[in-house]
């Protein structure tokens, strides 16, 4: 009896051990993070693939007013959307040849890395980890953001340094909580943090008066403010307590496509600096200024270097507009977001927006 059970145990254990070791040998490499390794052969030819299918597949947010937001008819607008449209104008000469994929913040990098989208333009912060570890490249910055504070105007607060003792609402699970805690500690002020899981709960709690202050990225504050019962009764304080440079992203390993996206953005910024707008772009192509001529393709062959036609930038600007036009139309002072240019003004006008020259 005992002998038998010992024999059986030994047999089963040996079998399990044998199959176990062979099975794991086969399966261990399988769960490696396939989505994060992107050096596949197909990415080299994004431009050709885009030309073949006839449109740019662009990853955007699930609805952030001013950045990428769909209206009732399904038309996408926003400064992030304009980068997508600019790329389509550069490639096809037609800004409408874009298809949009709304993505959550968790899905966005996987969707890009797997080739589901050609580019990501979704208020995405450029950080070292994302640039180096995810197999992605940031093609520039189209909005310099930072964490800020929203307060009811009636409190009469003019600066974040007057907030000693405030109740602050924020969303949990982001760097927001760390940034705000650091800010109050640095300045020797006390505060009480109320951290919610969902952004909508933060807005509702702030609106009800549970908190005096709502903190998140300033663009987010401006967008969420439009959801408040009375948006005009609230103001964003001038202080910025963190760096959040937002910009378009492409897959690593396709320099041609990377250059197209990067120079689409640069062309829009340069156009603003040169005073080229959607209205005057066609007539300014024959301007005396050689920089403008180079940008608009009447001098040199800069489009060909990108693998595009020579009027690539002319198409971007005449169909989408320059950076300033896009800004004013979607997030500027005359929109519900009411965001002043601030650091997002041109370098020549007190901001930090600076595009390399076309030459």
């Amino acid at each position: 009896m005992n002998n038998i059970s010992i024999v059986l145990v030994a047999i089963v254990a040996a079998a399990a051990g044998y199959f176990g070791s062979t099975m794991t040998k086969n399966e261990a490499p399988a769960p490696a993070p396939a989505a994060e390794k992107t050096e596949t052969a197909s990415v080299e030819a994004t431009l050709n693939a885009v030309k073949a299918k006839g449109f740019v597949q662009c990853g955007v947010s699930q609805g952030l007013p001013g950045f990428s937001n769909a209206d009732d008819a399904g038309n996408w607008t926003g400064i992030d959307v304009d980068v997508c449209r600019g790329v389509a104008a550069a490639v096809f000469g037609d800004a409408s040849k874009v298809k949009y994929t709304p993505l959550s913040s968790k899905q966005r990098f996987t969707a890009l890395a797997s080739g589901e989208i050609d580019m990501l333009s979704r208020n995405t912060t450029w950080t070292m980890t994302r640039d180096t570890q995810l197999g992605l490249n940031f093609a520039g910055v189209n909005y310099y953001d930072g964490q800020g504070f929203l307060v009811p105007t009636k409190l009469g607060i003019k600066s974040a340094l007057e907030m000693d003792g405030a109740n602050v609402c924020s969303q949990t699970g982001t760097t927001t909580e760390l940034n705000v805690t650091d800010f109050f500690r640095e300045n020797g002020m006390k505060f009480n943090l109320v951290a919610f899981e969902e952004a909508d709960a933060v807005v509702a709690a702030y609106d009800s008066g549970r908190c005096d202050v709502y903190t998140t990225d300033r663009s987010g504050l401006a967008a969420q403010r439009t959801k408040l019962a009375n948006p005009d009764a609230h103001m964003v304080l001038p202080e910025i307590i963190s760096k959040e440079p937002l910009g378009p992203v492409v897959r690593q390993g396709d320099d041609q496509w990377f250059n197209i996206v990067r120079w689409t953005l640069n062309a829009m910024i340069n156009a603003e600096e040169m005073g080229v707008t959607s209205a005057n772009a066609k007539s300014m192509a024959n301007d005396n200024n050689p920089s403008i001529k180079r940008l608009l393709g009447t001098e040199g062959a800069f489009g060909a270097e990108l693998g595009l036609s020579n009027d690539w930038a002319l198409n971007i600007i005449s169909q989408v507009g320059n950076y300033g036009e896009s800004y004013e139309a979607h997030v500027g002072p005359n929109t519900p977001l009411k965001l002043g240019r601030g650091v997002n003004a041109l370098w020549s006008q007190g901001g930090i927006l600076y595009a390399p020259p076309v030459r």
């Binding site: 099975m23 794991t24 699970g173 109050f184």
Partner: protein, 405 residues
């Protein structure tokens, strides 16, 4: 003798061989799956450049937590307190909700359950509507409802409703109450209080024994409180009154964010906690009411009739005849409801109450990134809390079950 290698089929068909064989196969499969899971996990962690370990528990935490019992007990300070403190603050806040919730839900649940059986039309239908509404609306929605209802009713942060005749106050940032400040020597007073409780319990038992023997006990209802007050009070005076109170201070002047209740004075119950408590209590009470009703209905009608026939009034009948018999039916499902309430407290993350899941498996997890270790700790914690609750309820069940003589 039965191991005959010449007769394999006899070996395979032997009942005892089969019994052992299947057991061994199942154990082998179990051991193998556990080992395979762990091995894969470790391999994947290694591929992603992560390691297992609990070293993060001694790191200091860099984020603020709203004032609650936990932060007060563990004296939370940003940059000084560690993730271990965060863990215990989370447990404290979870247990606070669990204990208060279980206590209140039991009272409301029993009341509503008995109301449903009342002959009074209004009481009966009020209880029915309560149970049906509460049971059939998702808890998360109720949580949001109570939270935003609470916030909607309360006065703003720079005004107050006085409570306790001005000793405390209530506004949207919370309920402010006087807070005890324990001086040295308070431990002795506390010990004296416990000792007096134990003494009273002993006297009550003695009295019961005497009553069973002679038919006459002591007047415990009078002796016990006198004894407790006398012993605790005397010790308190001898130790020089080692208990002070701080009262919430309300300011109406100064910088705008400095107005309202001052953060270092008195004690605050944040509205998040009140809303979680309200929602969990009312929700669980709905289920408890049905359990109580089921328990009472299950007691034979003859018991009540027999009780009436010997002249006992309805209240006494319910208390002495029906409820004791109903309890043995009520307690097992009641235990489940207590466990549910404790576990449901993790939904509080939605409305910013800093309990275990919210601050430890939420904020802290996002900073540290030790998913496996931290989720394991949180799961084990809930398991231990639940097992302790079950253990206590089983003990209670064994005590109240009918002893046949």
């Amino acid at each position: 003798m039965y191991f005959n290698s010449n007769n394999l089929s006899a070996f395979i068909n032997d009942a005892r061989v089969r019994n052992i064989g299947f057991q061994v196969l199942i154990i082998g499969a179990l051991v193998f799956s556990v080992w395979w899971l762990m091995d894969n996990t470790l391999t994947n962690l290694e591929n992603r450049g992560k390691s297992l370990g609990f070293g993060f528990l001694v790191q200091t935490a860099g984020f603020e937590i709203s004032d609650t019992l936990g932060t007060w007990l563990f004296d939370y300070e940003v940059g000084v307190s560690t993730y271990t403190d965060i863990y215990f603050i989370g447990i404290t806040n979870t247990l606070l909700i669990a204990v208060l919730g279980i206590f209140l839900a039991s009272i409301i649940g029993f009341t509503v359950g008995i109301m449903r059986l009342s002959n009074n039309f209004v009481l009966k239908y009020f209880a029915t509507v309560y149970v049906e509404v509460i049971r059939n609306v998702p808890l998360l929605l109720q949580l949001f409802f109570w939270y935003f209802a609470v916030l909607g009713i309360l006065p703003g942060a720079r005004s107050q409703l006085e409570v306790l005749g001005g000793l405390g106050g209530l506004n949207i940032t919370g309920l402010y109450l006087p807070a005890p400040v324990f001086q040295t020597g308070f431990g002795v007073v506390f010990f004296a209080f416990i000792a007096s409780l134990v003494l009273s319990y002993g006297i009550a038992r003695l009295s019961k024994k005497k009553q069973e023997k002679t038919g006459q006990g002591f007047n415990v209802a009078l002796i016990a409180p006198v004894l407790i007050i006398l012993i605790t009070g005397t010790t308190y005076v001898i130790m020089g009154g080692p208990l002070d109170w701080t009262f919430p201070e309300f300011k109406n002047t100064g910088p705008i964010f400095k107005r309202g209740f001052q953060s270092d004075t008195g004690m605050v119950l944040v509205p998040e906690m009140l809303a979680v408590l309200l929602a969990l209590t009312l929700y669980t009470a709905g289920f408890i009411a049905e359990i109580v009703r089921a328990g009472i209905v299950a007691v034979s009608r003859g018991q009540t009739e027999a009780s009436y026939s010997v002249g006992l009034r309805p209240g006494v009948t319910l208390r002495l005849i029906v409820i004791p018999q109903a309890m043995r039916i009520i307690i097992p499902p009641l235990t489940s409801q207590y466990l549910n309430l404790t576990k449901n407290s993790s939904l509080a993350v939605a409305i910013a109450y800093p309990e275990l899941v919210s601050i430890f498996a939420g904020t802290a997890l996002n900073q540290v990134g030790k998913e496996i270790e931290m989720i394991f700790m949180v799961m084990s914690t809930y398991l231990v809390i639940s097992l302790i609750t079950s253990f206590f309820m089983n003990w209670f069940n064994a005590r109240v079950k009918i002893v046949e003589r």
